[in-house]
């Protein structure tokens, strides 16, 4: 199956792209996306604690199952609006 992976803010800069299509085996979960990205950015596990992920615009866990056509995103710590 294919999912779309989107990158924002510091993640976008880290991977140097906005989004990409990713081919995954059937039954893949979010952790499989992270594992794939680890090849490119070996330090990514250090950020699991502070980074969130979403599937189809809802926060999701590393064990969330993926389906063909899903939109996945890496969500660095959010800072909506103001810092006061």
């Amino acid at each position: 199956m294919k999912v779309k992976v989107k990158y924002f803010a510091v993640c976008r800069e880290m991977f140097n792209r906005d989004e990409e299509e990713m081919e995954l085996p059937d039954g893949a979960v979010l952790m499989d996306v992270l594992k794939r990205l680890e090849r490119e950015w070996p330090e990514i596990p250090e950020y699991y604690e502070v980074m969130q992920m979403s599937v189809n615009w809802e926060y999701a866990t590393e064990q969330t199952e993926l389906s063909d056509g899903d939109e996945v995103a890496l969500i660095p710590p959010v800072t909506g609006g103001i810092d006061v």
Binding site: F8, A9, W57, V78, G81, D83
Partner: protein
Amino acid sequence: MFKITNQPIAPEDVIHAVKAENAGAIVPFLGIVRDNTGGRKVSYLEYEAYPQMAEMKMGEIAREIFEKWGLDRVAMIHRIGRLKIGEISVAVAIAAPHRKDGFEACKYAMDRLKQIVPIWKREVWEDGGETWVKPDPVYFNQKTAT
């Protein structure tokens, strides 16, 4: 009304959206770009959002407010792109029959907006440095609550 926009925000945008003939109180909130962060001079800010998810999460906050206070007139607009000092980054407004509920609900909306709405801020300083802004330390305890 829940909106991510790259256009300047006017307070009237959210106030007008929540006006109702039976609402005696409107509590807005405006986030303004400050000229400094911890004393370091800010040149401008750059906001980025995951627009579709951000608008969904704003709607989710409005549903939480309805469950907690029974208030159903909530508006939120967040601007993205490059903002100058003094410009409005975020505007919220809540109409309420009682002012106490209005204040509580508006404060709650801002607390939640900073926790769960996917928006990021990059500060560019006058001395040429820049950074993606990290959330409060409290974030790390609340991550699993989202």
